[in-house]
């Protein structure tokens, strides 16, 4: 089982993801450089958070054209597990691996805080260690996290059970009051139709142990490991 963490210029959560996988979960992990044109035999690829290329044009818009994205798109099309966190989610949207787009937070500020998210689908690669309706306390830290998709697209997401995480209250209530950024339908994370690519705005790598405020992020990584053990 091998994890790869992609490093774009401006990625800044690459080392945090790496640390959790290597030091907390004791799994083999390597960095993948954005200029590489090929990828080795990875089982799960993580696109970490940060500000790739400064997010100067639009979050994720330039990183999406990095040489490494071509083999990553191939990897995803073959069913490989891809997790995009925050900026990684934005890159997946720009690359068309996930539907929809990201807009500026509705309060036009960067927001960094712990939020609660509700697991809407517990049968994905990324959530099989959770129970449907389980509430995960995981921090967000972003400027552009207002997920947008048109009504047709939103219906399709619901039909296909592609919505994986929604922002909610501590008790699990999903409503505008507990929507930190104005995301459509309180969406915090979605998968593609095939279910092997997850994009999420909250940072599971930032909640890997109670001393940092929560260890709920581990559920997602554990799910991936459980799934990989079955398939490889």
């Amino acid at each position: 089982m091998r994890f790869g963490v992609v490093v774009f210029p401006g990625s800044n959560c690459d080392q945090d993801c790496f640390y959790v996988i290597r030091d907390r979960l004791a799994q083999p992990v390597r960095y993948i450089w954005h200029k590489d044109k090929r990828i080795a035999d990875y089982d799960c690829i993580i696109l970490p958070g940060g500000f790739s290329y400064g997010d100067y044009l639009r979050a994720g818009a330039i990183a999406r054209f990095s040489p490494i994205m071509k083999p990553i798109i191939d990897f995803a099309h073959k069913g490989g597990a891809v997790l995009g966190i925050c900026n990684g989610f934005q890159i997946l949207l720009e690359a068309g691996l996930l539907p929809g787009a990201m807009l500026r937070n509705d309060n036009i500020h960067f927001i960094c805080k712990y939020v609660y998210t509700r697991v809407e689908n517990d049968s994905t690669i990324f959530t099989n260690s959770c129970k449907k309706g389980q509430i995960l306390k995981i921090p967000i830290a972003h400027n552009e996290g207002r997920y947008y998709i048109d009504e047709n697209g939103y219906s399709r997401l619901k039909e296909n059970k592609q919505i994986v995480l929604r922002y909610c209250s501590r008790q699990g209530v999903v409503s505008d009051e507990y929507n930190p950024n104005g995301a459509k339908g309180n969406i915090a994370g979605i998968v593609n139709e095939r279910g092997n690519v997850l994009g999420m705005m909250p940072h599971p790598e930032r909640s890997p142990e109670a001393s940092l405020g929560s260890d709920d992020g581990i559920y997602l990584f554990d799910s991936i490991i459980t799934w990989l053990r079955k398939v490889i």
Binding site: N12, G49, G54, F110, C112, R206, P208, S211, L212
Partner: protein, 734 residues
């Protein structure tokens, strides 16, 4: 022949100009004159402050590490490097870019020492929020800090924000950064070894910020836009790549010296690196990457374009280093060589445009500035308490204090800062001190910034001591042993004797408190001329301090944890109200003397508090500061918004008047909560250090209730206090 008005406009006086002619044995070239003018300015050369800065102690409990541009301490096998710097004037003109480049500059000082930046803090001062320009400044500065720091992936974990009319027309933006390196990987800012390469790395050089350091930092300030061209623009993306490339380059072992091009850019870098390495340097300006065409030599030497630095690299290894920068899409070019003649020689288009002994540039003159106690102070220090009416309704006063701009929660600000990236932040913003763990170790670092400038205005010597004492107390409350200090000294025009008197007394106060508490001042910065045409700012010697927590599991926070804990006050409530927030907010008075401070008692209090925390006896610990005991107790109740805990306080057996007990700001006090069974042990610890100990109440559900002599004087639901405290800043600025 250079005309006097030319060197005058560069900030040099006749005598200084004569010295330059004597040193060179001839008239200086334009480039040389420009170089002298910046190196001999207060900003780079500390000409006016240096005499007094020598008083600051350099030794403490931990082994220290003093470098050219930063300093730190050694903790086990690690070097903890940190420094605070001001970016006041640029922020007053263009708040977003001013603050952003302030953050960028201080972080460069950290990673050019070989340390990975792990945390930032900010100490900010603005004028009254009722003025639209001050609201614009606050929003702009916060935006600048968030945009730069968040992009870099360096968490902004703490700091402070105060508002006072003395900052109308001159805000303060003091940025602090902390970095960690293996202690044998720390690198100095020097050039060594004849023939070694001088490599320029990072962004190109443009006309931005030309003269910024002498023009922006040394003229009294008038609001207006005409200074905009001198403001530098920050590019955090380039800086993020610079951090990674630099740390990778340092890992090769071929980089012998490294320096950020900050104020006065190439001038500072060439002369100071040569001087620090006891060598000389020859530079070809044609090889410097340029943003604009037809730049003059002096412009290239003075430019303050951001995100650039200079490296001294072992001869023959130039390509290895250049390749690393190329990997990160950064340019790096060899622009010169180290020489052994001690001279800085600058060539441009085939001519030698400057040829100066490095030491002549860096040995700036020291001035003995006259000082005099301000006439108004004696009168101001008098406060007749009998003429201050007792408040009718203490609930109202407490709510008013909790919602006042300086005391209210700064959640609106710190939620815009990424304070969690790097996954080390164990105590999040909103407690006495922020705490970051050191991965792979039990130890953690606590950090804080502090300064009550109103105390410093009323009594500079004692006010500065209090700033040191309070910073240390904040660290102790988080379970840390205070370890070392960086200071950022913000004052008015040093040529005015009363301002300089404030400066001198504050430095003496810091020196005395640091010596007593065995805290070295390892780095720092001086910012003078913080004045608007109307008035000078309050003297603001901001203290940045770090402390070491031996066992991260014992890191302590300020908020009550659960009901039925015992609430203890260590320390005394004296009958003093001078300089308090209460006097200002409730009685519209800034008067009296700063609170009394006995360093011996302070030290004892800190020793006892730390011992109790380290023995695991304490559930929470909170320093009493602005707003006094009542505000501190309220904060204990409400600062964990998801788990608010009330308290019944009935043991305030002090004789002073009720407002002094509730809102007085007596020093050397800490509120502790603990389980009942631990009370005797804490009492013994306090007695051992002769620290006044009082059980003042216990925690309970929902309300804060304070009574004295069987009369309830405060009774408020936590929810109401929380609303007043946490939502008010946002309300004031929109």
């Amino acid at each position: 022949m250079i005309k006097p008005h030319v060197y005058h406009s560069l900030g040099l006086c006749d005598q200084e100009y004569q010295s330059i002619v004597d040193i060179l044995g001839r008239e200086p070239s334009n480039t040389e004159l420009a170089m002298f003018s910046v190196e001999w300015s207060e900003h780079c050369g500390y000409t006016r402050s240096r005499k007094w800065l020598k008083l600051l102690p350099k030794k403490g409990k931990y082994r220290n590490l003093l470098s050219e541009d930063s300093g730190g301490i050694i903790v086990d096998d690690l070097a903890v490097i940190f420094k605070m710097e001001s970016h006041n004037h640029p922020s007053q003109v263009e708040p977003k870019q001013g603050a952003a480049t302030g953050v960028g500059g201080i972080i460069r000082d950290i990673f050019t020492a070989g340390a990975r930046p792990v945390a930032s803090l900010n100490s900010l001062r603005f004028g009254q929020l009722t003025k639209p320009y001050n609201r614009y400044l606050l929003k702009g500065v916060v935006d600048g800090i968030q945009s730069y720091g968040n992009c870099l992936g360096v968490p902004t974990i703490g700091g402070e924000i105060y508002f006072d009319k003395s900052y109308n027309g001159n805000c303060l933006v003091n940025a602090m950064s902390i970095g960690i390196a293996k202690k044998d990987k720390v690198v100095r800012a020097r050039a060594k070894g004849n023939g070694n390469a001088i490599i320029y790395a990072g962004a190109s050089t443009g006309r931005d910020g030309i003269g910024g350091c002498s023009v922006l930092a040394s003229k009294e300030f008038k609001e207006g836009e005409e200074k905009r061209p001198a403001v530098q623009i920050g590019d955090p993306f380039t800086e993020k790549c610079l951090i990674e490339a630099t740390l990778e380059a340092l890992n090769t072992g071929y980089v012998l010296g490294l320096k950020d091009m900050g104020a006065a850019g190439l001038t500072c870098c060439t002369s100071e690196m040569a001087q620090a390495g006891d060598s000389g340097m020859e530079i070809e300006l044609e090889r410097v990457p340029k943003k604009e065409k037809d730049m003059q030599a002096w412009e290239l030497m003075m430019s303050e374009s951001q995100e650039r630095m200079l490296l001294c690299v072992e001869k023959g290894k130039e390509k290895t280093i250049k390749d690393i920068f190329a990997k990160w899409d950064l340019q790096a070019s060899v622009i010169g060589r180290v020489t052994d003649d001690g001279r800085v020689r600058i060539k441009y288009k085939g001519n030698v445009v400057a040829d100066i002994r490095a030491r002549a540039l860096t040995d700036s003159p020291i001035y003995d500035m006259p000082y005099k106690k301000p006439a108004y102070l004696d009168k101001l220090n008098k406060l007749d308490l009998s003429k201050i009416p007792l408040p009718q309704d203490c609930n109202k006063v407490l709510l008013k204090l909790l919602s006042s701009p300086s005391l209210c929660s700064k959640k609106w600000v710190y939620e815009q800062y990424d304070h969690m990236v790097q996954t080390n932040t164990v105590v999040l913003p909103g407690s006495d001190a922020a705490v970051i763990r050191l991965k792979g170790k039990n130890k953690a670092i606590a950090a804080t910034t502090d300064c009550n400038s109103r105390y410093c205005y009323l009594n500079p010597y004692r006010g500065a001591q209090i700033a040191v004492a309070e910073a240390a107390r904040n660290l102790v409350c988080s379970g840390a042993q205070p370890a070392a200090v960086t200071d950022c000294l913000n004052f008015g025009n040093p040529e005015k004797a009363d301002r300089f008197w404030q400066f001198k007394n504050c430095v003496q106060g810091i020196a005395r408190a640091c010596r007593f508490l065995r805290l070295p001042v390892v780095s720092g910065n001086v910012s003078f001329y913080n004045e608007s045409p109307k008035e000078a700012i309050y003297p603001t010697p901001t203290i940045g301090m770090i402390g070491i927590i031996d066992d991260v599991k014992l890191a302590c926070t300020q908020y009550f944890k659960k009901e039925d804990d015992v609430v203890i006050l260590l320390g005394l409530c004296r009958a003093e109200l001078g300089g308090t927030e209460y006097l200002k907010i409730a009685h519209k008075k800034v008067r009296g003397d700063a609170p009394a401070l006995d360093l011996r008692r302070e030290q004892a209090l800190q020793r006892a508090t730390l011992e109790a925390i380290r023995k695991g006896l304490v559930s929470s610990a909170h320093d009493c500061s602005e707003g006094g005991l009542a505000v501190a107790l309220a904060e204990c109740c409400i600062s964990d918004r998801e788990n608010m805990v009330g308290a019944v306080i009935d043991g305030l057996t002090f004789n002073s008047r009720s407002d002094a007990v509730l809102f007085g700001e007596s020093q050397s006090r800490v509120i502790i909560s603990c389980e009942k069974k631990n009370v005797p042990k804490i009492k013994t610890i306090a007695a051992k250090s002769k620290v006044p100990f009082r059980v003042i109440g216990k925690t309970c559900a929902e309300r804060l209730k304070i009574s004295r002599r069987d009369k309830v004087i405060v009774d408020l639901p936590c929810q109401m206090m929380s609303t007043a405290w946490s939502d008010s800043l946002e309300k004031m600025i929109f």
